[in-house]
Symmetry: C2
Subunit: 595 residues, 2 copies
């Protein structure tokens, strides 16, 4: 009987040999019939998951010549649980050093993860290889750090063009900017607000992050160990601002991008930016839209809206409930923003009704943390040596095809531990679901980016009737409120449309053209053929952090975890292009949906 490490080692040797002799079929034969290979930039210069031996053989055939992988080595001891052997390894390609993970069923691979970690010859200057800071010895007319930095800031965007332009300076743009800075990629981040972090600060007063701190670290500079579990919005705003300074990002505040056009001959964008009121033309080679995973706000178009006498706005425009004490407020929608805004209005003494149009998943924040994230991102995990980076890779090692199955038991557990809570919520009339296939919140997030509320308190207000619940189809908006298909009416001084957001390619339509937006197609979602995530199956999130059908155009975003983790792979793709390394993209996804 072999040990897990022996089994993993045997598998890895066999795999390495097959690859060394360019035997894609032989390598694929080492996989189980049901098997999945997820590659993040190491083989495919893409984020790509392929399922089953044939597709694995095809991806190997398509990538072996250009990557020539070698030097496969187990990293640490393998382990076994429930018949699955679990092992980490490292490897190299022509251009990169990689890290990977394999799960074996018997002696066949069930899941394989391969990731590029750094580009050879273009490693980050850190640890032993960090910059000295000073050239010891003395030099006439030398420039010091501040002078060089000031010069660089003055030149970039004017006498010197950035290689990358990032539109949007939230957590996504900032995390990517930090990685590109380390890789020496000249980058400008354009942000409309006055200060980094303002997109958090400007939201409603009681907002705190819904994800716990261990899940939220930015790259390179983890939060101090007394950082609150759920960061208040202004505190996270201040952190982002300090982070931008510490990382020395070229971050343009009060700057809006007006238009962008790609010249395929020059392989260059022309981007018109208004920087603090002054027009600047930028000519980056790469354009990254990091304007929020959410896309353009979806404002509904009900008959009669223009005659409404009160105030109506999209949730993204709602500043907080301070002015609505004693007023009648209606929140249309029942996802995160709808709940948060309804609770905030109630806290401010408003009379609040939530209009629930379709069933919604709710998980209590505590339970989510304890059951879903804490085992990987939390104090116990850290004590076991599972660093943030390791946790990110463990999470990445589960292909999306299997992720639902991995998630179901977690939500069964949540359902059990919070049975009372769910009972009361249903009793209050709330239409509750756990997803089309009971796979819970995170699957809804990656499939459709909507359909759930992470409960930080509003559900209790619904249970006890403090926030009133109204269901049904809105027929029209009257001057005094809402009228429903069943004939009922709801008077309102304020209507907040928490009706969500479109796909991120809506930003491309606004900024570049409808044509380019359609060319790249819908962003986000997996093609799972569940509600709001039409097939066919994609294997990875559409268009996110990887090449799109528009050369030089990239989408970056998501929660803090995703911003941290995927910025690594996006930054490597951009750096490789800047350095002129060959980056043949395997399996560039076709477009199936426009939005």
């Amino acid at each position: 009987m072999s040990t897990p490490t022996e089994r993993a080692s045997n598998w890895l040797s066999a795999f390495a040999s097959a690859l060394a002799r360019n035997d894609a079929a032989g390598a694929a034969a080492l996989f189980d019939t049901e098997s999945h290979w997820r590659d993040l930039v190491a083989f495919s210069w893409n984020l790509k998951t392929v399922d089953g031996r044939d597709a694995i053989a095809a991806m190997l055939k398509g990538t072996l010549d250009s990557t020539k992988p070698t030097n496969w080595k187990l990293d640490g001891e393998a382990s076994e649980k429930d018949g699955i052997t679990d092992a980490w390894f490292t490897f190299e390609t022509v251009t990169a050093r990689g890290r990977g993970h394999v799960r074996l069923k018997g002696d066949k691979a069930w899941t394989l993860l391969t990731t590029a970690q750094e580009l050879k010859g273009f490693e980050e200057k850190k640890g032993r290889n960090r910059w000295r800071g000073t050239e010891h010895g003395v030099h006439k007319v030398r420039k010091n750090w501040l002078e060089l930095k000031t010069e660089e800031e003055a030149a970039l965007g004017y006498s010197k063009q950035p290689y990358v332009l990032i539109i949007g300076g939230g957590q996504g743009g900032i995390a990517l900017g930090a990685r590109l800075k380390r890789l020496g990629v000249p980058t400008i981040i354009v942000e409309k607000n006055e200060r980094p972090g303002d997109s958090w600060r400007k939201r409603y007063k009681s907002l705190c992050l819904h994800d716990p701190v261990w899940y939220d670290h930015l790259p390179y500079l983890p939060f101090p160990d007394d950082w609150p579990v759920f960061s208040p919005k202004d505190k996270i705003g201040d952190w982002l601002e300090s982070y931008v300074k510490i990382m020395e990002l070229n971050y343009w505040t009060k700057s809006a991008c007006k238009s962008a056009q790609y010249d395929p001959a020059k392989k260059e964008w022309t981007v018109e930016v208004l920087r603090d009121g002054k027009p600047v033309t930028l000519r980056p080679k790469q354009l990254v839209l990091a304007t929020g995973q959410a896309g353009v706000p979806n404002m509904p178009d009900y008959p009669g809206m223009k005659d409404f006498k009160g105030t109506q706005r999209h949730s993204s425009q709602h500043p907080g409930g301070e002015d609505y004490t004693g007023r009648k407020c209606v929140v249309v929608g029942s996802n995160n923003s709808a709940h948060d805004i309804a609770a905030d209005l109630w806290e401010n003494g408003a009379d609040v009704t939530m209009v629930q149009r379709s069933s919604t998943h709710v998980s209590r924040s505590e339970s989510l943390m304890e059951v879903t994230t804490y085992p990987l991102w939390g104090e116990e995990a850290l004590e076991k040596g599972i660093t943030t980076e390791k946790a990110d890779l463990i999470a990445a090692s589960i292909p999306y095809k299997l992720l639902g199955e991995f998630q179901k038991p977690l939500y069964a557990e949540i359902k059990r531990r919070d049975a009372d809570f769910y009972e009361r919520l249903k009793k209050a009339g709330f239409m509750l679901d756990f997803g089309d296939d009971e796979s819970g919140l995170f699957m809804k997030y990656v499939r459709r980016g909507s359909g759930y509320y992470i409960d930080v308190g509003a559900s209790e207000l619904i249970c006890n009737g403090s926030i009133k619940l109204k269901q049904g189809k809105i027929e029209r908006i009257t001057p005094a409120g809402l009228k429903f298909a069943d004939g009922s009416e709801l008077p309102a001084d304020l209507i907040v449309y928490a009706t969500g957001y479109g796909s991120m390619n809506g930003w491309a339509a606004q900024l570049i053209s409808k044509e380019v937006a359609d060319k790249v197609g819908k962003c986000w979602g997996l093609g799972s053929d569940t509600t709001k995530d039409p097939g066919p199956w994609e294997g990875e999130l559409r268009n996110m952090w990887k090449p799109t059908q528009q050369e030089g155009l990239w989408f970056h975003g998501g929660n803090l975890h995703q911003s941290r983790h995927y910025s690594q792979f996006l930054s490597l793709q951009l750096k490789a292009r800047m350095e002129g390394l060959p980056t043949p993209v395997y399996g560039l996804q076709p477009v199936h949906h426009l939005s």
Copy 2:
């Protein structure tokens, strides 16, 4: 033959038993004839080192009743090298949890370190015990983080008094402020400059830290792993500014402390502060002078100074050499500042002469790092699991009495590896020493805080004659320059007096009174009876980070390592007093020298 762990375990059990039965003599008998016990706040509520069995027995007798130490446990495996067994342990007292280290010769203790790590019931809220950030659930009229922070900032110093007032917002004040913040001690830091970090920014252009990055971390938030080895001054200034924000310190900029008086009846200070031009009276219980280890600038008093026609200033007032291209500049002194300023003037094209009045130690920065700090604070140490905190404790485990002996072989190594360099320096006429007893730079630093240059390039300029060297006694300053006792003259457009600083109690004289300054006496130094460090032997640095003869008055300062490490013990002393824990000070040092 017992293992090191068995020996350490046996010793610790015997020591614990003796203490448990209050047998000070029995415990002292477990020490070697030549032995040293260093206690940082755990037993003595002081920083105290005692030497030999009798003194150890006396300190035990004086502290056992009030501390009642228990729960002694080895921490990890002991090790042995050159006949010395080395072990870590933890323990508790009535009020604190502690960590310690012992070195055994045979079965007797040679050195013992005991440190308080946290106060029971007043632990820092971190890790698993961190603040949640939000009270989940919703609450009418709740205040959010920003509102509470804004209120606190507005109240502190006006409607609410700080418990601690720290004068001086450099690295010392900032590190201590961060620790007190975590411990919930209301604290204000008063800083004369406009921004945190300005005391670095305002210095000469080419300045970089002379200590390497691994030695320089502040508490709680280590530098990112690409931080340069030797931080440029503006970069470290920016870091301090970000750190103050991230740690949410109550940091008053543009604020000067005008006077301070202690009321022994009320046990309270009355401190007059000018905050951005407006007078504020503060009434803290504890006053910490963190105005720089260097003390008040020593301006020499040569005859004729008032008639000098050029510019003359103390090194602390010298902004940089930009205005002195082609001018004749004389730097009086040959320590760090003198070298740095001379090199900076040379870089700017000045004609520079250094006046060396007495012999000076020089170590090359590279060699210092590689030979002295890197084994404890560096990448290899980190890879071996020696964290910054562990490195600090290892360093602390060597009593000052032995430190010179530990240091000598390091400087012998430096002397060997840099033999050529030293040869050339002597050939250029430089008067070189390695300390009275060949123990090198760090001993000079802790004994007298002067007498050395960490070479970052200026020595080469002296070797090759770019910086001219002049030795001898200055007789007077003439209108045109300097006149020496040997009759020679040196013309000068600029004279910079890099003539050092007085003792830190000079700040107390300026701020409080000559009487209080004399009452607390000289700060810094060990009483080693070497040049500029007169005896008797003190065992610890005079007055630093520990109780002084003036109730409620404390001195804090030193390099970044000391600011980080000793701020922990000072913060625990202050917190204990705020909480009304008994803090009987053992062996408060008598005053032997006024300055």
